[in-house]
Symmetry: C2
Subunit: 212 residues, 2 copies
DNA sequence: GTCTATAACGAGATAGAC
DNA sequence: GTCTATCTCGTTATAGAC
């Protein structure tokens, strides 16, 4: 980073500093739509909902995302990217696989506490009604999660800090499905504990020393 | 029950034998709608879809189920009733709690193999967009499942055939969420094994003698 | 109990002005 | 980039004939 001198206007760039308004609007749209999908599902909201919240017209929305399918693709891309960053941060913050797993589970817990579902969990339920590019991106999300979990689990097995009572891949699949499903049920029942109980069994059953 | 004599026509009843056609149509509507919810979700189909499949008009649908919300309520009632019967049959068919659990998991597996999701699992995802009576009925479904599982798990613990590494209620919650979520992910990934792997870890981890 | 016809509305999307 | 205006279509629902 440059030093603490006052910002000096740089020479005109090929791509001028992106018109703050435009790029900002696209991001605001994404944020609003993300919330809507995470709470109501992709089939549970319309451009009008976003427009109302952002105080713009639906025509403006179509300027940024020509079709709802395009918006959907952008949403998954954004969400997946953020999730990847989160996984990387978990790797950086924790050395113990058991801690990584708890951190992973806590990510879901925080989403639930924010009264949201996992974006891709919602889309998985609506899978058959989604345009093909969105379907594909949803599967990629789950694959990435499975791969990450598998590596964490195998690390714990190698180091003897996790007791895997089956193949790492199977347990990874159990954890993903378990957290996704428990979130859905917990929200419906209006009871966050329902998620926490399931999650602690899912993860705690793997730790060597304690019962979770 | 009366003995094996040929049925004798009883005196005219207040409610005459329900007009076969009518009742038959209502049932066909329920069956068609059930499939649609289990594959596309409650927000993923319209009366026109059912009408086309049953070769009747949407007006006829409204005769049997005045509003879509009414249809939705009837769907959950029907589904929950069938599920209860299934649980009762599992109790009747198996004495070993471990076998009941495998049977329970197999129910979900068969639904998935039929290329469907759990009706209430789908509705849980769409929860926030559902009319209140449907929301209430969905929660009841999960409560009933949790109660049944809890009893099975406690039975196994008493008899020493199941090893519960935590409170029965927590494990029941893990199993329900786990099966529901794994189903969703497995369908999206087009890979039934994904469900089977998760389910076998979910259930197999509890059996005392074998690893599942 | 099912039909035709239609009301009433909301959805996604586009054209063209500013 | 955002607007107004508009189009087209799908959706739930009703009225009234048969």
């Amino acid at each position: 980073m440059s030093r603490g001198v006052a910002k000096i206007p740089v020479a005109p760039r090929p791509r001028p500093a992106e018109p703050a308004k435009s790029r900002g609007t696209a991001m605001r749209i994404l944020a609003a739509a993300e919330l809507l999908v995470q709470t109501r599902g992709f089939n549970g909201f319309s451009y009008a909902d976003i427009a109302a919240q952002l105080q713009i017209t639906t025509a403006a929305l179509h300027y940024h995302f020509a079709t709802k399918a395009d918006l959907g693709e952008a949403l998954i891309a954004d969400y997946s990217q953020n999730f990847s960053k989160t996984l990387a941060r978990l790797d950086a913050d924790h050395t113990q696989p058991a801690d990584k797993l708890v951190g992973y589970s806590d990510v879901y817990l925080e989403v639930l506490r924010a009264e949201r579902m996992c974006l891709c969990g919602m889309l998985a339920a609506e899978y058959q009604t989604l345009p093909e590019p969105m379907q594909h991106a949803v599967v990629q999300f789950f694959d990435a999660n499975e791969t990450w979990l598998e590596q964490v689990l195998e690390q714990g097995q190698r180091e003897g800090t996790l007791h895997l009572y089956g193949p790492a891949r199977d347990i990874a699949r159990m954890i993903i499905g378990g957290l996704e499903g428990a979130m859905m049920v917990a929200r419906a029942c209006g009871d966050v504990r329902r998620f926490q109980d399931a999650a602690s069994r899912l993860i705690g059953g793997l730790t060597v020393a304690r019962g979770g």
